[in-house]
């Protein structure tokens, strides 16, 4: 065997490894949540399902280069993961880990994974909605719902989730472990509840997906990390699973509009209405507009449909070149009725300050309790500057900068304060 022969074999081996890796990665990316949902639904044990799945994915990476990628990679991984899950349930390690369970109790772990139809994830229906309902269950701490969804439905690793939510990695890992333990021990069901209960629970699911939009800065100012893409994927998946739920499509539209501006929002900070619309992603805007149209079946537009419509008004500047302030005003008037959050009220005051004059907006702000709310100070600074009250504006810009978590925003506000004076 000469060196050429060896290298040819190496090349083949390398290609096989690469193909195996790509196939496993593809399954992981496209099917992670569906596989976790299938695995966890039978045992109620989310942590066990995730461990079994990551074990199966590792096994795929180990075996596929030699054995070849199976015809049904998803089915292969599901079968291997199920076997691993069953092994854990049967192992003495698991039993001694839970000393009170003396009987060899194996909950309804699905065992007969031999029917090929059973391995077709689409044939048995998508269980990701059940998984999302578990993650946003009322018995789960609201602060951990969004992180839990990102980890269980999308397979995002805990370290990245911790970074984006600005929490220490060990603290985030502990919260996730605790939540999963709670799901198993209290037996939060993996099921779609009755229509009335489902209607009660969906807002929490929407809220958790919305929470994933939260983006944070790394300590390293050069590396931006945002979950806008993941939040958008979750929202679109959720809307598709719920079929005709207008608020779900509103959330899908909202997250897609946000994603369309992700590139333009990169450093240095530029406020939305001063961004160059050419920097926005036209394809994503068109996609968001499609989703927004699906909210029209609602009797009255909900919070997310209204927020998405506000996004659409901003996006329209790409076509028309002007920001339709009157339309924004109408939408914010409706939004503060449906969802009177401080953020929405401040944003409305800002718009009123531009349609009816800065003093009208300032009067609205004066009625709000925004002493510690950064957007309140930023909006006030902007309106004071528009009113020509430069000294007061400079002070408000400084206060807004002090309250900013994002150093780029602080820098922008301080610059504005200096420019005005």
């Amino acid at each position: 065997m000469g060196p050429e022969h060896l290298s040819a074999r190496d090349a083949v081996q390398q290609a096989a490894e690469q193909a195996a890796e790509q196939a496993a990665e593809y399954v992981a990316r496209t099917s992670y949540g569906r596989l976790v949902a299938r695995l966890a639904a039978s045992t109620g044990d989310l942590a066990l399902a995730e461990d079994a799945l990551s074990g199966a994915l590792e096994e795929a990476l180990r075996r596929w280069p030699g054995d070849g990628v199976p015809d049904n990679p998803e089915g292969w991984i599901l079968t291997v993961a199920r076997n691993r899950q069953r092994d854990v349930w049967k192992s003495s390690a698991h039993r001694t880990g839970r000393p009170l369970e003396q009987a060899e109790h194996v909950p309804t772990v699905e065992t007969g994974a031999t029917d090929p139809g059973d391995l077709d994830l689409d044939a048995v229906g998508d269980r990701r909605l059940e998984l999302m309902l578990v993650c946003a269950h009322p018995a789960i701490d609201p602060a951990v719902r969004a992180p839990l969804m990102l980890q269980s439905v999308l397979g995002i690793d805990a370290a990245r989730i911790a970074r984006v939510f600005a929490v220490a990695p060990s603290a985030m890992a502990q919260r996730l472990v605790r939540a999963k333990k709670r799901i198993r021990a209290a037996r939060v069901p993996f099921a779609i509840p009755d229509r009335s209960v489902l209607a009660e629970r969906l807002p929490a699911v929407f809220e958790a997906v919305y929470g994933c939009l939260a983006a944070q800065w790394d300590d390293d100012a050069a590396a931006v990390d945002s979950l806008a893409g993941e939040a958008q994927y979750l929202a679109v998946t959720l809307a598709a699973l719920l079929h005709d739920e207008p608020e779900a499509w509103g959330l899908a539209a909202l997250t897609t509009f946000t994603l369309s501006r992700a590139r333009a929002a990169e450093a240095p900070y530029i406020p939305l209405d001063e961004q160059d619309p050419a920097d926005w992603d036209g394809d994503l805007i068109a996609e968001a507009e499609t989703y927004l149209r699906r909210t029209a079946s609602a009797r009255a537009p909900g919070r997310f449909a209204l927020e998405a419509a506000i996004g659409a008004v901003h996006a329209a500047r790409r076509r028309t070149g002007v920001l339709d302030l009157a339309a924004l005003r109408t939408l914010y008037d409706a939004l503060v009725i449906v969802a009177p959050t401080l953020g929405a009220q401040v944003a409305r005051a800002s718009v009123v300050g531009r349609t009816d004059g800065p003093e009208a907006g300032l009067a609205l702000l004066a009625d709000l309790d925004g002493a510690t709310f950064q957007p309140w100070h930023a909006a006030r600074a902007d309106l004071l500057a528009r009113a020509g009250r430069t000294d007061e504006a400079a002070a408000a810009y400084r206060r807004a900068a002090e309250l900013s978590d994002d150093p780029r925003v602080a820098e922008f506000l301080l610059r504005r304060g200096r420019e005005g004076s």
Partner: protein, 125 residues
């Protein structure tokens, strides 16, 4: 799976509840227990006497102490328990939402870990 519904509420001062209110609460509780029983989910139920009647044992430095009054002297006290056998937390929530005592207190849903049947421990699954 066994879930305990633990009813916590501020106890009325002795004699501050009129007989009509007591009768109504009793009627509501028996109607509630009846619904649970007919649904086949009721394992046990206890409505407790006021915490003023309770006696608490503790060991302090190896010495057994008997004290009058509850273990924790809080405004809200444990006032009753229902033990349900239902498939999951959502089913327990469904029944807990109908406890009459929710109007004047809180209901805690506590999953059991293990319980005794005919002298033998049974895992709670």
């Amino acid at each position: 799976m066994h879930y305990m519904l633990l009813l916590h509420y501020a106890e009325p001062e002795g004699g501050t509840l009129d007989q009509e209110a007591i009768d109504q609460a009793q009627q509501e509780f028996s109607a509630y227990a009846d619904v649970l029983h007919r649904a086949g989910v009721l394992v046990a139920g206890e409505v407790l006497q006021p915490s003023a009647i309770t006696t608490t044992l503790t060991t302090v430095d190896g010495t057994l102490t008997v004290q009058d009054g509850p273990f924790a002297d809080t405004k809200e006290q444990l006032g009753g328990i229902f033990v349900l056998d239902v498939p999951d937390l959502d089913a327990a929530l469904h029944w807990a939402e109908q406890v009459p005592a929710l109007r004047w207190g809180a209901v805690e849903i506590r999953p059991g870990a293990t319980f005794i049947t005919d002298g033998a421990w049974v895992p709670n699954t």
